[in-house]
Amino acid sequence: MQQANTSQRSVPATRKSGARLAWIGRAFLLALALFAVIVLVRSFFDNPQLFAQIVISGLQLGFVYALIALGYTMVYGIVKLINFAHGDVFMAGAFVSFFAVTRFQLHLWPAMVFPNLPPIVVTVVGSITVILLSMAVCALMAVTIERVAYKPLRTAPRIAALITAIGVSFFLEYFGALNFVFSPRFIPYQRPFDVVTWYIFDGIHQVMPGQNPPQGSITFSNIAIIIMVVSILMQLSLQFLVRRTRIGKAMRATAFDKQAAQLMGINVDRVISITFAIGSAFAGLGGVLYAIAYPSINTLLGVLPGLKAFVAAVLGGIGSIPGAFVGALIMGQAEALTAGYISTPMRDAIAFTILIVVLLVRPTGIFGEPEKEKA
């Protein structure tokens, strides 16, 4: 999944106008980056506590984007398809957990089966069940989407599959908005567990309702920690899967050359299905965590996070798993710092400016390798 291989011929690197554009672009970017660093350093010394608070919210956002970006990048690495429906699978993940919690009280099942369990065990086991259910449903959904919408187009031009992906995305958003599916409402999300906040001030204390944390303290919540830990764990396990297991080897082979892999006896269809399933399970997981952190859901929930995770994947080098992760963290910080020190409405603009700049200056992204020509 490291190499982004295509049958396209790469553009000769010595085109003059292109080179000059890139040079000007780089100089401009360097100046801009320098300016940003100065502003940030100054803001840090102005109010270090506020700065830390903003960085924490950026981390929380970045790690959620990382979960979504992994799916984008895995699928792109293998089938060279930007799966625009990915953000909507993320949305479905949030809704599945919502229904599991409100309709079926699934997060309380351990208490119903074993009434004597301590509440903390009930919460942990119940929440994990809800998350696993969401992941499973999303995986199943993605495999179905792949079979129905993408597989028939595997030999068609890439643009056809891309447009189909956009179509699937709209289908999920507006089919979900029907009253008998998810309804178009903004639904207050009921969490499987409560969010607890702590503040750091002479040690770590819990924030009590109706009580302001003291001036100069930094607050963080359990959901922020859960998002970070889960995201890092998923990243590591994915690395392990791709590098050390048979299916990972098959994935890498399929990414490198689909036809050759098939000739070597790899069941390419299965590999692709598994890739979609894993990527979408991560999106479902991200969806649940996102809804817990920002508890209001509707069917267009996945659009912006999906697009931003896509930018993150491009920034890190689409097709590269560590790239997606690093790109997502950068996106999270860029957004939070923009919101903190420029203005909140600017943060989407900055996010997509990053996309444009990356495509202009380094289209392969941070970790991406330049396209190699096939022999």
Partner: protein, 385 residues
């Protein structure tokens, strides 16, 4: 071939002309369009508005209609968004030939509708669009055929500022607003003006966009500024997100907002301790309010089959319908110019208070302050202009 085309064009033109002529005639039914955001960002507003207006129409029809003419409602989804709203207005005006429109809810959708309706001399009665620009154009000239049933943004902002300083004794305030939303901007500006004029201090003002879900950065600044009050005059979907995240950050300052908070989907646990200005309270004991609440509950049920309590949207849509129909009855005609003249001089006792119109077609009426507490929204006080 060409000759054929030309004759067919003439034929079409003739049909169009005759269609126009027949639409102008009197007698028969009175078509009234209800433009409401049944989908889009605030669907509960749309449903309440439609139901409230239909309630008024049903009551009039049960009494034999207006001057013997039955009222026929035409409901369109205008999505609280300028383009779909304008399309819906074109549809009901050009295709269905209505002369009267009840709607839209959102100011940003009502403004384009009002411009088109006014140019066609169609009466638009917006139940709940509070922005100044709905009834008055950019040059400050009143749009002759456009009215509303609610008070306007500056008034809500003023009342909130008075309440914040007087009752809550909050000397400092933090304002959060969505710059792209006329309604939110209008309330925030009016609040800021009235609040600073009365001696309050605005310690921070932050923008966001209506699509945001993560408010942690702004709330970090709120926690840093420690204001006595946070003014957040947005719709319930944003209020739910912001107040929940604020509670988790340990922010204790009360939140205050406008009638955008008024929704069955407001998360009363998250918004606990908050206040908002509104048009009416179902707990009001005036007989017309009691009767309306009862009749509405008989007609509309919630998910669990319980009688629905009409929110302010429903009450205002009901008032808007009754205002319009009373004016048509008093004018004795469906001629929109005559109805307009009657409306400007009307004195009407509605659910949301006694309504008369000022020169800019804005009602002169009272405001209600509601308090979110213990998982419920309770009546706090009435503030007169």
């Amino acid at each position: 071939m060409r000759a054929f085309k030309i004759t067919s064009l003439f034929a079409l033109a003739a049909i169009a002309v005759s269609a126009c002529a027949s639409a102008g005639g009197t007698g028969g039914d009175i078509k009234v369009a209800i433009l409401a955001p049944l989908s889009g960002p605030v669907p509960t507003f749309g449903v309440s508005t439609r139901d409230g207006a239909l309630q008024a129409i049903d009551e009039w029809n049960a009494k034999g209609g207006i001057n013997g003419q039955k009222i026929v409602p035409i409901v369109e989804d205008s999505q609280c968004t300028p383009d779909p709203a304008l399309n819906a207005a074109h549809k009901v005006i050009d295709q269905d030939k209505v002369s009267f429109i009840i709607g839209e809810v959102c100011s940003k959708a009502s403004i384009p509708i009002s411009d088109y309706a006014n140019s066609k001399k169609i009466i638009e009665m917006s139940p709940t669009s509070t922005a100044t620009g709905v009834t008055v154009d950019q040059n400050g000239k009143v749009k002759d055929y456009i009215f509303r049933a609610c008070f306007i943004d500056p008034f809500q902002g003023k009342v909130a500022a008075k309440f914040a300083l007087g009752t809550l004794k909050a000397q400092t305030a933090f304002i959060m607003l969505d710059q792209s939303n006329d309604y939110v901007k209008g309330l925030a500006e009016a609040f800021e003006q009235a609040y600073t004029a009365a001696g309050g201090k605005v310690v921070g003002k932050e923008n966001y966009t209506g699509k945001d879900t993560d408010f942690s950065t702004i709330l970090a600044k709120v926690a840093d500024a420690k204001p006595g009050l946070v003014y957040l005059p947005d719709y319930y979907n944003i209020v739910n997100l912001v107040t929940k995240q604020a509670k988790e950050k340990g922010i204790t300052a009360p939140f205050m907002g406008g009638d955008g908070w008024d929704s069955p989907d407001l998360d009363t646990k998250a918004a606990d301790g908050g206040y908002y200005t509104n048009h009416y309270s179902p707990e009001d004991t005036r007989p017309e309010v009691v009767n309306f609440v009862k009749a509405y509950g008989v007609k509309y049920k919630d998910d669990k089959g319980q009688p629905k309590t009409p929110d302010a949207l429903a009450a205002l849509a009901y008032d808007a319908g009754n205002l319009l129909f009373t004016a048509i009855k008093d004018a004795g005609s469906t001629d929109t110019t005559k109805v307009r003249d009657t409306l400007t001089k009307i004195s009407f006792d509605g659910i949301s208070g006694k309504i008369t119109y000022d020169a800019d077609h804005n009602p002169v009426k009272s405001a209600t302050i509601l308090h979110v507490t213990g998982g419920k929204v309770v009546f706090d006080s009435v503030v007169n202009p």
